[in-house]
Symmetry: C2
Subunit: 113 residues, 2 copies
């Protein structure tokens, strides 16, 4: 992966709020859990953890519940994470499906190897 792509990824994760959102999706649980009670993502009713390929439903709503940011700001952050290639999202009716991009995860893991 090219340097400019890496700087894009790092720029996307350089915002503390956006990093939190990304990790919420990545871990499939509320990143502010330790401080605020640990509301968890429900992935199709399960309580799964860490398989990056898993599709998260209602990601947007859950992030809204966990973070004190306006909806428009959160929408913006989702878009930035998509633009950096970190996640892919898709709407179906009122459901917002979302998953982490495996390639990006691999790229991050391969950085400094």
């Amino acid at each position: 992966m090219e340097q400019s792509n890496y700087s894009k990824i790092f720029k996307a994760l350089s915002s503390e709020q956006r990093l939190k959102i990304f990790l919420m999706i990545y871990k499939q649980c509320c990143a502010s859990g330790e401080q605020q009670g640990g509301a968890e993502f429900k992935a199709g009713g399960e309580k799964a953890c860490c398989p990056a390929t898993k599709v998260i439903e209602k990601a947007f709503s859950h992030v809204c519940d966990c973070m004190k940011l306006s909806r428009s700001t959160i929408s913006h952050h989702f878009k930035e994470l998509q633009n950096a290639g970190l996640i892919t999202c898709e709407r179906d009716g009122r459901t917002f499906r979302c998953k982490v991009n495996d390639q990006a995860v691999k790229a991050i893991r391969d950085f400094l190897k």
Copy 2:
């Protein structure tokens, strides 16, 4: 490592120029090598590669030679990399010693583990 620390690291690496500088130091060779002829860092006369603990001398000068940025800007970028804990630098007379911080490298590698 805490999320806020990670966002600091990622912020430092989110600038394409700064990422290039960091990788120059990390790899101990000129990051713009492919495009511009590959002037190399001389680490005490050797032609070493990738041991993060190695101290690089005259890092500042070499970066100045490799990049088209003013010295003040490069000085600023070195400072930002230090503030993020990615490198440590030290002046001794006219020599500028510099090395990558192992802990930071480990933290980056452990991200998403």
